[in-house]
């Protein structure tokens, strides 16, 4: 097992005929992801690598059973496209798009909540269950199947840590990027819940960064609900107050946003804390993963 997606997940790609969409679709398909349909308005009837393209999501769901979608739609059109996916009843949407207006993200996340569907992102590399399914843009050669779940705000940091784990012989059940914020469709906490319920996941690596309070919420959840070991690393320990460290959400504003306060909360909640990817490996080995 893995969380959220596996080899049986039937996938729709939104924006499948664009540069990024068609390129990433090919890579996901080669990896073994079961992509059954694509959507681009005005391109219905074409196909991308043998995958049928539809004008509307509603048309695609009439022809196929679809469990998850990934959107490569540019920011100006992202809200309409995301709501189309959710309105069609597709239960899981990975929103890779960066630069969506904040009000649009708020609307998307609220509509997902109302329709009982899940949005991962925006501004996320997506997720991958190594050896089973890739619903995103990860450099999958750095990852392999195994017992550790990874949840990260940053894509690059999850590759970094995934790679060090893989080199040390520790594989992953799923690697999930939740995005750089400052608004998240799915939080660390919700992904932790999935890993806790996944019998194959033996331990979880939680990767956070400065800014916001997401990691504090995760700490509360760890304390009250997690039975599996969590190893946490927060980057930006040396970030100055008020500066934006690349991600829209990565700004230290007030005590709660600092790496130190997040690490403290996670430690108090019973998580192991690490300062380098190598230290994460040492901790995982020590606790017998």
């Amino acid at each position: 097992m893995a969380i959220l997606i596996d080899q049986n997940t039937r996938i729709l790609v939104q924006g499948i005929t664009g540069n990024v969409g068609s390129f990433q679709t090919r890579i996901m398909k080669e990896y073994g992801s079961n992509i059954v349909a694509g959507v681009t308005p005005g391109k219905g009837g074409q196909n991308v690598d043998g995958i049928p393209v539809y004008n509307l999501v509603a048309e695609a769901v009439r022809e196929h059973r679809i469990d998850a979608a990934i959107s490569f739609v540019p920011a100006p059109f992202a809200k309409n496209a995301a709501l189309e996916i959710l309105a069609a009843g597709i239960p899981f949407l990975v929103l890779t798009t960066e630069g969506i207006p904040e009000n649009d993200i708020i609307d998307i996340v609220r509509y997902a909540e109302l329709t009982g569907n899940r949005v991962l992102g925006p501004d996320t590399p997506g997720l991958i269950s190594p050896g089973k399914c890739k619903l995103g843009v990860h450099p999958h050669q750095m990852l392999k199947e195994g017992p550790v779940g990874i949840v990260s705000k940053s894509g690059s940091l999850s590759y970094e840590v995934g790679r060090v784990l893989t080199d040390a012989g520790i594989g992953q059940t799923s690697v999930v990027g939740i995005g750089g914020g400052p608004v998240w469709g799915t939080t660390h906490e919700e992904v932790l819940k999935e890993f806790e319920n996944d019998p194959e996941t033996k331990a979880i690596v939680l990767l956070g960064e400065v800014g916001g309070k997401l990691e504090h919420h995760a700490a509360k959840f760890i304390k009250s609900h997690m039975t599996k070991p969590v190893v946490a690393m927060i980057v930006g320990r040396s970030a100055p107050e008020g500066a934006q460290m690349g991600h829209a959400g990565a700004i230290v504003e007030g005590e709660e946003g600092t790496a130190a306060s997040k690490l403290k909360a996670l430690k108090q909640a019973g998580a192991h804390t690490a300062t380098t990817p190598h230290e994460i490996v040492e901790i995982l080995q020590r606790i017998g993963v």
């Binding site: 920011a75 969506i100 009000n103 690059s156 608004v183 400065v210 916001g212 980057v235 040396s238």
Partner: protein, 377 residues
Amino acid sequence: MKLLEYQAKKILSENGIPIPEGRLIEKKSDLADIAFPSVLKAQIPVGGRGKAGAVRVARDKAEAEAITAELFAANVKGFAINTLLAESAVNIEKEIYICCLNDKENNRPMVIASKEGGVDIEQLANESPEKIIRKRIDPLVGLMEFDIRDLAASLAIPCDKAFIAVVNGLWSILRSQDATLVEINPLAITDTGLMALDGKIILDDNGAFRSNGRLTEIQSDQKDRIIKEKSEPERLAETYDISYVLLDGDIGIIADGAGTGMLTLDLVKDLGGKPANFCEMGGKAAAEAAEQAMEIVLANPNVKSLLISLIGGLTRMDQVAEGIDAYLKKNGCRLPVSVRMCGTKAEEGARILSPHGIEAKADLFETAKMAVQYGGR
């Protein structure tokens, strides 16, 4: 983008919210036709202007001229002042606080209000949280009349047409004009009705594509009024639109992702080095971004050692290497360059860099160590 007060007030006024009569003062002669007493307010993008002495009352022209001369020579929180907003003083009966923003905690728009306006709201929230009214609004339903009545009741003020207009105006600026925050502090109850005495608006840069050029207009309008000393690398980073934060150390850092960038910074510090900056190339075209990032980071004369940290998710290493190669061929390099490279086409990338005497490594920790050692020489 954070708006200057007069820009924010213009938008408030366009949305039916009363503001005091005022005019911009850019030179002494602009004071000729203003009424007294007058409030002179420095137009700089910082909070707490009152406490910093950047908001002053002038009783007559002579006093106004003296204050203007003083403010034009002053520097407040790093900003030089060249524009004042002169407003007619009003008779205040009561001051309240009101703000619409997107609350990231709950993913909802929210109206925040308090009976105590004109104060530092964050301080008030810390000291007397019970004095802050928070009202979450469902974005798909919108602000309803009952929400406004509820707010008025909590504020113990009449829910008259004027108040309804103010709250609706704030909501419209937030939701229909792509603000992420719109605040009136204080909203004054005066003998002539409600009036926004100060205004703060942050517009969402990501909404630029549908602002019909408004964002560009506002930006060019404030460009010559916001005068802050910027270092050469900061200026270049702004031009190239690359994420860059200047720090006070000597190890220059370039990364291809925000998360790895922060990790690299932390590692350098843990190893006893001092980062000179944070710089992340993001999702831009690899070769061009790499060349620009080199130019930005090396424009800081304090940099003694350069550390390039690449993980190669979406970016191809051969393309990044081409950018580094192009920079080095054009400009040479006065200092040691340590490169960590892995992922897509990393071998090709390493081959491109080797003629420059750069030996790309795969391990980040080892590469950071090397860069710190070079810096210490």
